[in-house]
């Protein structure tokens, strides 16, 4: 009995930790775009949070109007509005999953596990959209293009560097924590019954 309690506590602790990491990621940027040009010696930085854009986003938007690109803070309105409730929900589901057995054990934490991937996909989609929906009446006309999601690129006189920021790594950490927890054996009482269910889940998670 004693061992079971300790194992259960550890399990709840791990998913709680994962949920907390994801919640904490709300406070820090997920992605950063840095633009370098001669007249911006320190570079310009757009910091993309789950809920908003910050840094020099306004200046970048201002420059973007010359090529007819939409303002950065107009992107992903739904995602940004839902970010806080979703993060809380995903965290809560993961915590609940800690005490569940069978398919629920991994199904409930799936949103948390897939969160970083989802962010990356959504970001890529928006970047594609921004690069392909430029105002044709803009003073400077560019061919539609796919902005760089990760790595280096060039737009007009700007060299750009796109990279993940702390928030993304926190979310990734949360994801890995939840996965690590899945590898562990289920609570002893349920072990026999759940074993056959847990194994495929482990495989899937890998």
């Amino acid at each position: 009995m004693k061992a079971k309690t300790r194992g259960g506590l550890r399990q709840v602790g791990l998913v709680l930790g994962a949920a907390a990491l994801l919640a904490a990621s709300l406070a820090v940027p997920y992605w950063q775009l840095t633009l370098y040009a001669p007249q911006y010696p320190g570079g310009l930085r757009a910091l993309v949070y789950l809920t908003h854009v910050a840094g020099d986003a306004q200046e970048i938007s201002n420059l973007n109007h010359y090529i007819g690109m939409k303002a950065l803070d107009e992107a992903a309105p739904v995602e940004r509005a839902l970010a806080i409730p979703l993060v809380l929900l995903f965290g809560a589901l993961a915590v609940v999953s800690g005490s569940r057995r069978g398919p629920w054990r991994w199904l409930l934490r799936l949103p948390l596990v897939l969160f970083p991937l989802g962010f990356f996909a959504d970001l890529s989609a928006w970047l594609w959209y921004y690069g392909h929906s430029m105002d044709p009446t803009a003073p400077i006309r560019l061919e539609p293009f796919m902005p760089v999601v990760l790595g280096r690129g060039v737009i007009a006189q700007f060299r750009t560097v796109a990279q993940f920021h702390v928030g993304f790594y926190l979310a990734l950490g949360a994801s890995l924590l939840a996965l690590y927890d899945l590898r562990r054996k289920e609570p002893r009482a349920a072990q026999v019954r759940a074993e056959s269910v847990a194994r495929p889940a482990e495989v899937a998670a890998r």
Binding site: D56, Q58, E59, N62, Y66, P139
Partner: protein, 657 residues
């Protein structure tokens, strides 16, 4: 012999250059690269000149170590230089319009500062003499700069957050002034009259009798409110003075805190009359051997004001001369005739007066002055009943420096530097105890020739309680042959001098082609913390949010009777709105906000054929009030090249007949 000397000097320079440039690198050959060597030879530079060039060179992208705020004399402005490069960094519009800055050309805010919104005549110029940086505990704090207008008896307040003039106060009772100085905690800005006028100011026929009876000097202690960043006229006061021509002043500090000093000339009370074959003022005012140092207990004066012992004259609280004498606020001490500069030593213990017509710097001891006052060591009283302290009882030393000693600054090693106008030189000399032991006290150390006719000089924080040493700038009145001739109006000549060593060394020349600067002050760069941009929607006069600041999406044109309000934004590279239609006779009020947040994203707003040109720094909101009088279609446009589409940043103002 001479050649060998030069060669040896070059070797020294080469070694110095290498020591600096090769720190951390492998030692190279002990000579300069051949191309550098040939540059030096082609220009015929001496080792000292090469050293000076390296010492004052600030490579692109690097900053100077100090800022120098200089008056621009009759140019009416303040000039800001970097030191040691001596590069001009800014011109600050103060008493005259300054179109680049949008100062006094259409903006309601700056024209209010200039007093052009009241009934006064629109003075289009001023004669700036003495900038005074605000102080905390006797050191520059880099918050404000004050400067006087000699011709208009005005004092201006410049905010160093944005290097812009915020307030100009007009002295209602004085007709001219000479200088602005601040007390050690910027409690007061002191303005002393130069030429006496009828008191209170009005018309009085100019006769000797009337002059003696009705003319007066005035010391004005403008109360500065640090919280508001403004002079508070209601808490300011004046002290009535005899009709001598009071001159440069300085506040006491540390041991002499609570006192102020200024000298005077024309205690003869000459009033000229050259056409009537009377001696000109220059003769009449130099007849006596002595003039008077004024010694003033301003703390006591403050108490007197608090007790209500003043008269209100034209809205100013004035302590009358009789009351000042009775209360022990004002004393005189003889000084060699027609002196000029007066400067208090860093510890507040000595008061140095430049003889001008006398070859000495006369040094008064504050302790001796206090003793003489206590012992009533008077040699008499002047015609106005002011007690005159005995010269010998108050003087600590007279140091013979040369011809035409004017102004004095101090370094961090107990030395004083005095400008010698007639000798065209800077004299370095030692202060007495406690700055130097008695055997080294009050001695002339060196005279460095300058080109030419030096007026003021200024050393790094050289009039504070902690002078910085290192550099000194000579502000020369004549340049004669120092520059290629650019017409008969020659530039003034600033010369940077190294005072870090035992010997002063001339480093560089800088021509000043805008007015004749008088005093300058040098402050450590890190003390000045100025804004890079305004918070969006800031009124530059109040430095607070402007009620008419316009946000994106709120731009609009509102007609109220014959007044049309235009709520406009400026941003790269367009105005919203960019078309404004009004009728002849309308009053058009533009409220324009630069909604940029990016450093250096500056826009202008100029209306063709109108007296309107604003400078809209990022975040700034300004107002233009325009009477639409001449029908036509006038472009308005951005005057500051802001972006690739700068020329497209324009709009039309239609004035219908």
């Amino acid at each position: 012999m001479k050649q060998r000397g030069i060669l040896m000097g070059l070797a020294v320079v080469a070694a110095a250059v290498l020591a600096v440039s090769l720190a951390g690198q492998a030692q190279r050959a002990g000579t300069l690269p051949a191309d550098v060597q040939s540059l030096i030879e082609a220009k015929g530079l001496t080792p000292d000149q090469v050293r000076a060039a390296i010492q004052t060179y600030v490579p692109p992208g690097k900053y100077d170590e100090y800022l120098m705020f200089s008056s621009a004399g009759q140019g009416g402005q303040v000039l800001v230089f970097g030191i040691p490069s001596m590069r001009l960094l800014r011109v600050i519009g103060v008493f005259a319009p300054e179109p680049w800055q949008g100062y006094g050309v259409g903006s309601e805010e700056t024209e209010t500062v200039l007093g052009w919104r009241s009934k006064d005549p629109r003075l289009a110029w001023g004669d700036t003499h003495h900038p005074a940086l605000s102080e905390t505990n006797g050191e520059y704090d880099g918050k404000w700069l004050f400067i006087n207008d000699k011709a208009g008896s005005r004092i201006a307040v410049i905010d160093l957050r944005d290097f812009a003039t915020k307030q100009i106060v007009q002295n209602p009772n004085a007709v001219s002034n000479h200088g602005a100085v601040v007390s050690p905690n910027t409690e007061y800005v002191l303005e002393v009259t130069q030429y006496a006028g009828p008191f209170p100011f009005r018309y009085v026929p100019l006769t000797q009798e009337n002059y003696n009876r009705h003319f007066r000097g005035l010391a004005t202690f403008w109360k500065f409110d640090r919280g508001k960043g403004r002079i508070d006229v209601s808490k300011s006061f004046q002290i009535e003075l005899p009709p001598y021509w009071q001159d440069l002043a300085d506040f006491g500090k540390l041991e002499s805190h609570g006192w102020a000093f200024w000298n005077s000339f024309n205690s003869e009370r000459a009033i000229g009359g050259t056409l009537e074959k009377k001696p000109p003022v220059e003769i009449g005012a130099s007849a006596r051997d002595m003039d008077y140092l004024h010694i003033v207990n301003w703390k006591r004066a403050e108490e007197l004001v608090a007790q209500g012992k003043y008269q209100v004259v034209n809205g100013m609280k004035v302590i009358r001369l009789k009351d000042a004498v009775e209360a022990g606020i004002l004393y005189l001490a003889p000084e060699p005739k027609s002196p000029h500069g007066l400067d208090v030593a860093p510890r507040g213990d000595y008061i140095v007066v430049g003889g001008k017509l006398d070859p000495n710097a006369t040094v008064y001891s504050f302790r001796k002055i206090q003793e003489a006052i206590r012992n009533k060591a008077f040699s008499g009283r002047d015609d106005y009943g002011v007690p005159i302290l005995k010269f010998d009882a108050v003087v600590a030393a007279q140091v013979k420096l040369g011809l035409g000693p004017l102004h004095t600054m101090f370094d961090d090693k107990g030395n004083a530097y005095t400008s010698l106008f007639l000798d065209s030189a800077v004299a370095k000399w030692t202060l007495g105890p406690p700055y130097n032991p008695p055997d080294r006290a009050w001695k002339l150390v060196q005279k460095l020739p300058v080109q030419y006719n030096i007026g003021h000089l200024t050393a790094v924080e050289g009039d504070t309680v902690k002078p910085g040493g290192k550099y000194l700038v000579a502000l020369n009145k004549w340049s004669v042959d120092q520059y290629r001739n650019v017409g008969p109006l020659l530039p003034q000549n600033f010369q940077l001098i190294d005072i870090s060593g035992e010997e002063m060394k001339l480093l560089s020349n800088t021509p000043i082609g805008i007015g004749e600067p008088h005093l300058a002050q040098i402050i450590r760069m890190d003390r000045v913390k100025s804004w890079e941009t305004y918070p969006v929607g800031t009124n530059p006069l109040t430095m607070r949010p402007d009620p008419n600041a316009t946000k994106p999406g709120q731009q609009r044109i509102v007609r109220q009777g014959r007044t049309v309000h235009v709520y406009m934004t400026a941003m790269r590279s367009h105005y919203v709105p960019d078309r404004v239609r009004v009728k002849r006779g309308d009053t058009v009020v533009f409220h324009i906000t630069n909604i940029e947040r990016t450093k250096d994203a500056i826009h202008g707003f100029a209306i063709d054929r109108h007296n309107v040109n604003l400078s809209l720094e990022p975040g700034k909101t300004e107002t233009v009030v325009l009477r639409a009088e001449r029908p036509g279609v006038y472009p308005f446009y951005c005057t500051e090249f802001c972006s690739a589409l700068h020329l497209e940043m324009m709009g039309y103002l239609e004035i219908e007949p």
